[in-house]
Symmetry: D2
Subunit: 341 residues, 4 copies
């Protein structure tokens, strides 16, 4: 397999985690890293053999041999960096979402630019490449449960985020449930036509001060006639709870949580199993690594990426409608027609 | 434990199943059976040692030593028989619902008569006494998951009923989801304040001719602020799918399906487990037996029954609201205040 | 299905449990019960509709309409009662073993008498009809794991028996491991040719005073070349531990323990499951009922019983060799040739 | 954590797998690699940033800054390289065993040299660091099952090795069961005093031509009075089967196989789960990585290694006795006294 020469923009905590993954992959050659605080990680990067480091990402985009860039900066910078990268004729891998506002127009602008510049762009909807969920998706794709009729998704965080962090990354629906909207559509193999949402602050009532909630229940309706049921909580004391179920005319697929070991402990009181993995970077360690592999390999082969900006647009539409539904107490229609760029 | 002398009204398929259970219980003395088609089962009953059999249930109600009656007749007769039984000063165990219309007034009339005649009445919400669900309920009751916040219920039938049968026993919501409404309230330990429902005919489009659906997704909101998510399907090819999950501030309880054995078969293709039990009378065999035991033992001790007419009223309110929600596309409010009779 | 008229000899704790099962079966008509202490249970039996009760089993054997007898008396009486029953031309269901000594000659005498009197005889090796183990056996029979090569059996009692009880019913190998010897042969579909055993008193050292052990490890070799590994303990604090595994050229079958419910409790410390069922009469409730059903139904159809006196003989041979192996520290040969009676 | 500078001797398939793991660890600095066929991997190693490569391991041992060496060469070279490494004052990580003959004297010579030269030595008993088994070991260590009484180990390979390979690496007992002997002692926290073994060729009868077997059943007895039961097969069609169970006075711990995902597929025939992982390098991927981490970190902190040459000696003694047991049909004593070097 041909090596792809890449640059990374954004070397904060998430960025460094991805960089460490990249360093273990022989299909990738990490040429340069840019970060506004590059001084914090420069030594570490040099030790790892990455010689070109920049404070300004424009300098990285100017490095000719770089074929593709990974963008791991904060959300508010995504749109501008994507546009610059596209103009610099670099293929792009960017974390969702493409803009803070969640406005579809912003995403379309990026998609337009990507198209015009003849490059390709993938989105880091990491859960799509989680081994459990990818296995389910593939089996649905092959028709192993027939026509999908009901999708059930449970996503529960291990603990509350600080109000400050929520204000930076977006509230429950835009930061967290967004992944579930994408997962529901991914699993149903159909687009959402309607959403009903009902939320509450059952854990931290002060969340209402920043206009957020911590508990959420949703019903989605799809073009194929099927339904998705999603429930969210910000605090599951037993760990990070991430489950998906697809029920169809020929059967059901479901993925239970993943734990550290298969050890069973039989005592005089109960049989004890290991808890689910505690947090997203444990649970999706394999998926984070796989999304890098997937991007690079599909870049080389020309195959479709696991997730693209279109998938962000479609998930954002549901998020917008969910917020409207909470406000009105009604099911809110969602346009299932995919934008043509 | 003192024996209770009982009569059974209704000896069709369901009635005979219950009678067979009663014959194995030494806390019960089955004195008489009444059925409009008593000639079909008379010989069998006599062989089993039940000497008094009647065509007309009024004759059974006139037998003085009978302390309590079990009513297993068709729904349209429940109200009249309950009223007659109460007037005859017999304690009553009746299958839900109390009337075909689902009108609350009908149920209240029965409750009023029961009260005035100084007898007690239990309802056959069998799932409450299923070993899995009762265990969860008890643990919630003891606070083992803290305050319940999210209840998830999946109920899927193994196969479509005939249109004729549906018309006799009521459509999906009144016959089937009714149990889930009760289960949700039972598990949440709180009353419903709002319901959103969305249904479809994904399996048999001709169901719309009799104004029914085969697939259903619901979100319930409760007085304690929590939510329930319920999904229903009329056809699960893998068997009778009955699962409950209660998530709370201190943990989660869930009950997976029950299968015939723990046998695991490791092959070169996959590891195979036994399917879930195929149908309600297998899955709830223990619960059907237990509801009889519970009724009789609580009659003797004066303890509360697992389910009462009040529970029917509260579930019917949700069912009514669910139907309105499907028609309007809105969340429909439900009165959480329990009627005082 | 034709009703079979039966008598029960022995109405102690075990006998009464079996009688209660029989009363719920409509393929059986329990005509009479005999017990040396019949006065203790007479009233109960009469209430249940059994009119003929005897102190002396010979009187029961003289009742003409009785076609078959169940023998649930203490082991030391089995041989004499079986011989008398055979001579009275009654079919026989008897608990293992056939004699206290474990001498093959005693069993052969019974088999001879059964044959000469033209009756049939079944043995209560209840585990053969446990739903899990029967399922495995059937799949092995159908070739679903190919040629069986390794059988693994774990049998662990929940707690020590009193020394007095052990002296009455036989030590670990004769009372408890005996079932495993039968299970191993049943699962392997082949006869034992050699056994190695090593035992110890790890729980109660005073067991050595009555020449018994509480912990045992064995390797059996079979005519087909395969092996069985068996481990026993008298005290498993987590409940009654009964597992079987069959490994063959085409796969593996295994049955884990059975617990009361499928409920999973997710806490901040661990995920808790229900313990295995606590004791033999819970674990084998279904099997005890099934062995009665099996006996009666095979009596009527002429099909082979699940277990016969021959199976006792073959298990006793292994038990004898196991004791010799413990004494000598060597693998001891076992004659795999079945006796012809 | 201080970086440790290391060299690797042996860069065949196993060596390269370990080298790739090392390259992802920031506690290790891989300075040099030696291999008799270094030309095959030189380019790859240079690309990975390893500049010093040698054909002759003596040259690697002469590199002054190397503090520790990993030995991944073929078994017949282990003893000589270990002795040379010790004399060169390098700490040593070596794959088991230390010599082809399995002679204890050879291992003791290595241990003596290690001691005299003031270096430390670890052994690659990878299973000790498998997450499942390490968890069990830690819980046993903490007394969570009380005094261990019965250890059960199942190790089944996915498929037969070629006769040629077996002749190079040793037969079933020396190459494969050796790991189980170590695991049994590790889990029991006690030394073996006696072994009984019985083996057969149930899969490939021609194995007898090279004096090997493919199926094996063993009972081990320990100083603490406990027993281990081990079963081995060379061909499990469902994958690599590696399970451990520890039963003690206060409970039981067991580790089932590990599979690729938690996905459950409910069909009209059965519920399907993913198969166990297919082969050792999948199953023990984490353990292989962990044994490198463990070695380096304990080198730095001075803590004991997970496995040492003493553990090889103790496992070899059992292997020798197992072979004698197969030949004699008797339990063969094993000296539980650990050698003092």
């Amino acid at each position: 397999m041909k090596n792809v020469k890449v640059g990374v923009i954004g070397a904060g905590r998430a960025g460094m985690m991805h960089i460490e993954n990249m360093l273990t992959l022989n299909t990738i050659e990490l040429v340069a890293v840019a970060d506004v605080l590059i001084e914090n990680v420069q030594e570490k990067l040099h030790e790892a053999g990455i010689e070109q480091t920049f404070k300004d990402y424009h300098e990285l985009l100017a490095v000719p041999q770089i074929e593709a860039v990974f963008i791991f900066t904060s959300t508010d910078t995504h749109e501008a960096i994507c546009l610059a990268a596209a103009q610099a004729k670099k293929h792009i891998f960017c974390e969702k979402p493409l803009s803070m506002t969640g406005q579809e127009a912003d995403s379309l602008t990026v998609m337009q630019s990507v198209k015009e510049n003849g490059v390709r762009m993938a989105i880091g909807f990491n859960r799509r490449l989680d081994h459990q969920f990818r296995t389910i998706w593939e089996k649905v794709e092959k028709g192993e449960v027939g026509e999908p009729q009901i999708v059930k998704i449970t996503s529960r965080d291990p603990d509350l985020l600080s109000h400050a962090l929520i204000q930076r990354i977006g509230g429950l629906i835009f930061d967290f449930t967004m992944h579930d909207f994408d997962m529901a559509r991914y699993m149903m193999h159909s687009n959402v036509t309607e959403v009903f949402a009902n939320g509450a602050t059952l854990i931290d009532p002060t969340l209402s001060e920043i206009n957020d909630i911590d508990t959420l229940a949703l019903v989605l309706k799809f073009e194929n006639g099927g339904f998705a049921l999603i429930d969210n909580s910000r605090r599951a004391v037993y760990g990070y709870d991430q489950r998906v179920e697809v029920f169809g005319s020929k059967g059901m697929l479901k993925a239970e949580n993943v734990s550290n070991s298969t050890v069973e402990h039989y005592t005089s009181k109960a049989t004890l199993l290991d808890k689910p993995l505690p947090i997203f970077n444990d649970r999706y360690q394999q998926a984070y690594r796989q999304e890098i592999i997937d991007f690079v390999s599909n870049l080389v082969t020309g195959q479709p990426f696991a997730a693209t900006p279109l998938d962000v647009v479609m998930a954002q539409r549901v998020a917008m409608a969910a917020i409207a539904s909470i406000q009105t107490g009604k099911a809110v229609p969602v346009d299932p027609k995919e934008p043509i760029v």
